[in-house]
């Protein structure tokens, strides 16, 4: 078992493929395209108005969160409803520690704390069947909120905290864009590593994965830790922009919900899937919250159900279906032409 169990370990790609990186030409091309797109995105806040900037920041936040959510929940089918717990924790570490340590240190600390927190949760719940994990994650944000409120009560601090860090809007966007880039790189690396392969087997059939000698618990916990670390760091990066942090805001169940809905809308089986959900949904959300501020919950719930029932594979699924149909159509057209020419 032990030697086989190591198969699930994230062996660095450089070692597993011998002396070369093993990046194909196609992958180099995709990397280059991604780099160009990121460079283009980085220019957006320089040319856009204040409104465009704020939407761009929202999109960057949700892309980082939804993509990191998808890293874990996409391949494994374990639905995590706890994004807000990690995001809020990251936020609170910055808000609470600003008098004690410089801001960049706090961001790192938030990542470490998020990782440890996720490891504890993962070790407790991910070793047994998936339902326990979902249930545990459902109330996790509320649990952390209660504990922080209680701690503040005991310590006698104010429940709301002000976060003053001098950052321009452009800087916020670039920070979040950088985080998103890291999320993508890590996701890409996982996708081509043995760990990613192990996770896909787990998602297809966990029993099969166990029989293949994959240490399923370990693979799941590692991925959950990676995913949650990003959520915590995102919280730490966003905290100064909100400038006022309060338990009910930081641990709002809305955030977990939005992240799931956006990732599902985009599609969770491609790395770039969540992005295709984040962009339309952020714009839609702007529209909803501007026009129906009282009915946001209802409309969000309805949108969620529509996605679950009518676009189960997300926008990516729709695109791939369309491409496949087009491919088949072209093939039959070619056959037809060939036959015609032969007849003639």
């Amino acid at each position: 078992m032990t030697s086989e169990a190591q198969a699930a370990a994230p062996v660095p790609v450089t070692k597993s493929t011998g002396h070369r990186l093993g990046i194909t030409g196609r992958e180099w091309r995709n990397l280059a395209i991604a780099a160009v797109l990121f460079a283009l995105a980085a220019v957006v806040p320089l040319v856009g108005s204040g409104y465009v900037q704020s939407i761009a920041i929202s999109i960057a936040i949700y892309t980082a969160l939804a993509t990191s959510w998808m890293l874990f929940s996409g391949p494994t089918n374990y639905i995590s409803l706890a994004t807000a717990a990690f995001f809020g924790s990251g936020m609170y570490i910055v808000a609470g520690g600003l008098d004690l340590a410089p801001y960049p240190v706090l961001v790192l600390l938030a990542g470490v704390a998020g990782a440890l927190f996720a490891a504890v949760v993962g070790l407790a719940t991910l070793r047994i069947s998936g339902v326990y994990f979902v249930i545990f994650s459902l109330g996790l944000a509320e649990l952390v909120r209660q504990i922080i409120t209680w701690l503040q009560h005991v310590l006698g601090t104010m429940s709301g905290l002000y976060v003053y860090v001098d950052r321009s809007e452009e800087m916020f966007f670039w920070q979040l864009l950088a985080l998103t880039a890291v999320v993508y790189l890590v996701g890409w690396w996982i996708g081509r590593s043995r760990l990613g392969f192990a996770l896909r087997i787990i998602g297809n059939d966990e029993l099969v994965a166990v029989h293949c000698g994959i240490n399923t618990a370990r693979a799941k916990v590692i991925l959950f830790v990676i995913s949650s670390t990003f959520a915590a760091i995102a919280g730490a990066l966003v905290a100064p922009r909100w400038s006022y942090v309060e338990p009910t805001i930081a641990f709002s169940p809305f955030l977990s919900f939005q992240v799931v809905i956006m990732a599902l809308l985009g599609g969770v089986h491609r790395l770039w899937g969540p992005l295709l959900g984040v962009i339309p949904f952020t714009l839609l959300w702007e529209l909803i919250s501007a026009n129906f501020p009282a009915q946001t919950t209802l409309l969000l719930g309805a949108a969620f159900l529509l996605i679950v029932y009518f676009i189960p594979n997300g926008v990516v699924g729709l695109i791939e279906d369309a491409l496949r149909q087009r491919g088949e159509w072209l093939k039959s057209l070619r056959l037809l032409l060939v036959r015609r020419s032969r007849d003639a």
Partner: protein, 288 residues
């Protein structure tokens, strides 16, 4: 002493709520994350009924139970059955159900917010002290306790003494085998789901007698009910009742000795303990 009594009083309502979820998850095999919202809807309905008519909230049960039964039946027929048909395996169904009911919970919260607004609500019913062993307790808590016990007992007897109850228990043990002995599994599942929703809403009616609530509280109750069901063992309704009293006691202990704001932490502590020590639940059977 008063911790134990308050814990027991609370536990009975929790037992009712958990029995509702047990029917939905144990029999119909639907993980319903909108369960707590159904409970809160029952509580809101009672609030509306009581403030409008000033009659005893117990009469609200007469309206809430059939209404919740019908609503949950419709939810099962319209929302869940397509998922059951679509699912290729049990895992896929579970994921789809979790997502669908999660979305549903937000819709229910949205409806409650639209109708009643976002304030905390409570009403004063039987707010008189009653003395048990020389200590005063709210009469409304005792009334809710008795109401819960009556409903729990009725449900238990129905499940164990009647043919439909037997059919439901058969489905909970093995849906495929239940189909072989000419039980209409789809119908039984729909019945269990609807009945579970009705029981949960009844729990909400009783809970509203002594609790302040708002539209966003549902998720906490969903979580508590789930923890109780897991703690008790998914297959056994007696386990759920036992677990409900354990949770009631644990919460009351934490609330009175540490801080009333930490009740969820108490529930999570129990959850952690059960996950680490006995994942199959107190009375559950260990699966191979």
């Amino acid at each position: 002493m008063d911790i134990i009594i308050i814990g027991l009083l609370l536990g009975a309502t929790y037992a009712l709520m958990a029995m509702g979820l047990q029917l939905q998850y144990g029999v119909a095999r639907i993980m319903n994350l909108a369960n707590g919202e159904m409970l809160i809807a029952g509580a809101f309905g009672t609030f509306w009924f009581y403030t409008a008519s000033n009659a005893s909230p117990f009469y609200a049960l007469i309206g809430v139970i059939p209404l919740a039964f019908a609503v949950n039946w419709a939810i099962y027929r319209v929302l869940i059955v397509p998922l059951v048909r679509r699912a290729r395996n049990q895992g896929q169904l579970e994921v789809d159900c979790i997502l669908a009911t999660f979305g549903l919970s937000f819709i229910l919260v949205g409806i409650l917010l639209a109708v009643f607004g976002g304030e905390y609500l409570s009403y004063s019913y039987l707010a008189r002290p009653i003395f048990i062993l020389g200590e005063p307790y709210g009469l409304n808590r005792v009334a809710a306790f008795i109401g819960s016990l009556v409903l729990c007992l009725g449900l238990y007897l129905w499940l164990h003494r009647t043919r439909p109850g037997l059919a439901l228990r058969a489905v909970s043990v093995n849906p495929a085998a239940a189909g072989l002995v000419s039980i209409n599994v789809t119908r039984a599942s729909a019945l269990a789901f609807a009945l579970g929703g009705a029981v949960t809403a009844a729990g909400g009616v009783l809970l509203s007698m002594f609790l302040t609530f708002d539209a966003s509280l549902g998720v906490v109750f969903t979580l508590k009910a789930l923890i109780i069901v897991i703690l008790g063992g998914v297959s056994d309704i007696r386990g759920a009742i036992l677990a409900a009293f354990i949770l009631g006691l644990a919460e009351t202990t934490v609330a009175s000795l540490v801080d009333p704001g930490l009740t969820l932490a108490a529930a999570y502590l129990l959850f952690m303990a059960i996950l680490l020590v006995r994942p199959e639940g107190l009375l559950g059977r260990r699966s191979s």
